[in-house]
């Protein structure tokens, strides 16, 4: 049995951050129902990457919304709203990511929902919190990355700001949202009362940087200094931390005893005996290492370095890693079955419970696909 079986989650949320939280709750066993406007459904259905659509919805939508159901309701229609309220009365969790004021207008804000269901966990995702001058700005991933300082951690000094090339703010915020909702359910078990959970993309991306922001705040306000050398892996870490080109591809080297690493690489680093120089002179050191690493293939270096217990790895593409036994042995890929009988390959939940991997073949629903059955099961009509 999955840990969240028996829990009912209503997802009024769109796009990415909150729906990824819904996906995690679904994979952990909750029944997750998307409340969507009739016919068109949530706006995320039309947001595509690489212009890819499957069965009428974007591939991204399918990735984020598998293992969920869809209930179609026009929240501006009195009869539909009445049915949704009846469903809310029977739910454990409600999530949304509307801008401040929208749910108030519909009459489904926390204070109103608490009256309908005094045990509801009410979760809100915003871009920048609910007050202040940024509260109404669009809560979009790249904008949040740009405002949060995150763009000054990757790449090299001369690159200018380099964003993380994935919807990182959305993903990390969704991960925090799940934790807040689950903690609220634990609180409810003690108090038997409703709980309000709030997260924002900006707070989440700041939390993601907590180590380096704490360092900044206690380091006399010295901003992060990226190395000038391409491939460097972290503005606060010493040489050799980074990725190097080899005779045939690339090799990453993590932290370790630089003298020992130099010996294994047959690279004279005797000019850098003390640890502070590994940081202060990291550009020079990385250039020396880079010149030497270029002389052999990745596999030749791995054989030498791994025998010495030095932390290193090859740099793989999807084509390579997804066929590697190290990946395949973990059973991370799963198939979901589309309504037309075709299947999509995607990844599974990253959490295992009691040694079991959590799989589900349920594909993302078409808008309103389960409206009738939900009407019956929850006696909404």
């Amino acid at each position: 049995m999955k840990p969240l079986e028996g829990l009912l989650v209503l997802e009024f949320a769109q796009f990415m951050a909150a729906p990824t939280a819904g996906l995690r709750l679904a994979d952990l066993g909750a029944r997750v129902i998307k409340i969507e406007r009739p016919v068109k459904g949530e706006a995320g259905r039309q947001i595509a990457i690489r212009n890819l659509f499957v069965n009428g919805d974007s591939l991204v939508f399918h990735t984020i919304n598998r293992n969920k159901e869809s209930y179609a309701a026009d929240l501006k229609d009195a009869a539909d709203l009445e049915r949704v309220k009846k469903l809310i009365a029977q739910a454990d969790v409600l999530t949304h990511n509307f801008r401040p004021g929208v749910m108030e207008k519909i009459g489904l804000d926390y204070e109103s929902v608490k009256v309908i269901n005094p045990r509801i966990i009410y979760g809100i995702v915003t871009g920048y919190g609910s007050k202040g001058p940024w509260a109404l700005r669009p809560g979009q991933d790249l904008l949040i990355q740009s405002l949060s300082g995150l763009a000054y951690l990757s790449g090299s000094k001369d690159n200018g700001p380099v964003p993380f090339g994935l919807a990182t703010a959305d993903m990390i915020c969704g991960a925090h949202f799940v934790q807040g909702i689950l903690a609220a359910l634990i609180k409810r078990a003690k108090t038997n009362k409703s709980v309000l959970v709030e997260v924002s993309l900006l707070e989440s991306v700041l939390d993601m940087q907590f180590e380096v922001i704490t360092t900044y705040l206690n380091d006399g306000g010295k901003l992060p200094q990226r190395s000038a050398i391409e491939g460097n892996g972290h503005p606060y870490l010493s040489a050799p931390y980074g990725i190097y080109e080899t005779a045939d591809s690339y090799l990453s080297l993590a932290m370790g005893d630089l003298q020992k690493i130099g010996e294994a690489l047959i690279c004279d680093l005797s000019a850098y005996p003390d640890k502070t120089s590994w940081f202060d002179k990291r550009d020079e050191i990385m250039l020396l290492l880079g010149a030497q690493i270029k002389s052999k293939t990745t596999n030749q270096w791995l054989a030498i370095l791994e025998a010495e217990g030095i932390w290193c790895a090859e740099v793989l593409t999807y084509a390579e890693v997804l066929q590697h036994e190290g990946y395949l042995s973990q059973g991370i890929t799963q198939e979901v079955i589309l309504p037309d009988g075709n299947s999509l390959s995607t990844t599974r939940c990253p959490i295992r419970i009691n040694g079991e991997r959590l799989y589900s073949p349920v594909a993302a629903p078409r808008p309103g696909a389960q409206t009738e059955i939900i009407n019956q099961q929850y006696h909404l009509i």
């Binding site: 591939l59 932390w311 740099v315």
Partner: protein
């Protein structure tokens, strides 16, 4: 009242992944006791390569381990083991991030712990899972980024570019916290315990679920744009651009509309929506040249009025001066037992309108031994 008040967590984990999970749980109200090796403690106290030392230990250790207690105990010493077992008997959660097989050798693996405390929620993080050819590899962040394809997503077309913080550690910690909390929800209903396992490999793949699903679908590797790349799978204008005085981010907008708003006639010809993706390099080059001609404020003023998604690019110093940052009340001062104070961030989660702050700084190695022995262990002997 915090959600995890009265919960006790016995935490054997070190470095970042596991301890970042227990920090989240501590901020939710749980009492987290770090079990640390006498003399050295969590390796992160000294060996995490950050050059910044605060009060004798690494800045990173202080960020990760505030709001926790430290119990110094030698896992291989009989008396100490008995004390650890006594703590485990009373615990709701036990967690660790040793490599596969280590806890079995030490005798504190899930099977052993479950016999003493059947309703325990036992959490563990590995690098690559406990089976397969990678299981004994070091579970280190950069290596995970390198092995999982993540380094081909950031930066412009060319060589691999890592994400410049320990992103996989952070994700694995968040996923472990999720799994532990989900099982604590169930435990609060029926008293059942569970084993929760996460690997950095699974977490890294989950982070890339969009891109990997796309790869499975079309078999094409991610292609970063030649310049101003912010997402390998998105078209122009998605990216960060230099202006006359700084940088700005531009997340969307139809190309001809941007041409009109920005007074850039060269963009008006890209009327076919598909061109925004297929011709993104040339479009971005035109945009980049044009945006250099005015200051960030000038462009944002025009674009924000037209509801185009854009923003200034800030560093931390600039960010922390903004009212939009200050209103979050995101920073807090914490104090160690010797009076040393430092500023750090708080938990990102707000519960019942209460910020989950705590003034407790990180513990000195073993500083809570006496109190823990008095409060938790003495009355349980015999």
């Amino acid at each position: 009242m915090k959600p995890l008040d009265d919960y006790l967590i016995v935490d054997f984990s070190q470095f970042l992944s596991g301890p970042s999970a227990s920090l989240k749980l501590a901020d939710m109200g749980a009492r987290v006791i770090k079990i640390e090796k006498p003399g050295t403690g969590d390796i992160c106290r000294h060996l995490y390569t950050s050059n910044v030392i605060m009060n004798g230990e690494s800045s990173v250790f202080h960020a990760i381990n505030r709001n926790k207690e430290s119990f110094a105990a030698d896992i291989k010493n009989e008396t100490d083991r008995e004390q650890i077992w006594n703590l485990i008997k009373q615990a709701d959660v036990v967690m660790h991030n040793f490599r596969p097989g280590v806890m079995e050798r030490l005798g504190f693996d899930y099977q052993c712990v479950k016999q003493i405390n059947p309703s325990i929620v036992y959490g563990e993080i590995s690098g690559y899972g406990d089976t397969g050819p990678w299981k004994d590899k070091p579970g280190q962040d950069l290596l995970l980024q390198s092995l999982t394809g993540l380094t081909w997503l950031s930066g412009n077309a060319g060589g691999p570019v890592p994400m410049g913080l320990s992103i996989i550690d952070m994700l694995a910690g968040n996923h472990l916290a999720q799994g532990i909390l989900a099982c604590l929800v169930r435990k609060s209903i029926n008293g059942e315990g569970a084993l929760v396992q996460v690997s950095m490999l699974e977490s890294a793949m989950d982070f890339q679920f969009e891109a990997i699903t796309t790869y499975y679908y079309d078999g094409k590797l991610p292609e970063r744009s030649e310049r101003n790349n912010a997402h390998a799978y998105l078209g122009a204008p998605y990216g960060i651009y230099q202006t006359a005085n700084s940088y700005m981010a531009l997340a969307m907008g139809s190309i001809p509309q941007l041409g009109t708003l920005l007074g850039c006639d060269a963009l008006l010809v890209y009327t076919d929506v598909a061109e925004a993706f297929h011709k993104r390099d040339e479009i971005k080059a035109i945009l980049a040249k044009h945006l250099l001609s005015q200051a960030t404020e000038y462009w944002l003023d025009i674009l924000l009025k037209a509801d185009i998604w854009c923003a200034e690019v800030l560093n931390w110093e600039e960010l922390m001066k903004q009212d939009g940052f200050k209103v979050l009340d995101m920073l807090q001062e914490v104090q160690m037992s010797d009076g040393y104070k430092y500023i750090t961030t708080r938990s990102p989660i707000t519960i019942d309108s209460e910020l989950l702050k705590s003034s407790k700084g990180s513990p000195k190695l073993g500083e809570d031994n006496d109190a823990i022995i008095n409060q938790l262990l003495n009355e349980h002997h015999g």
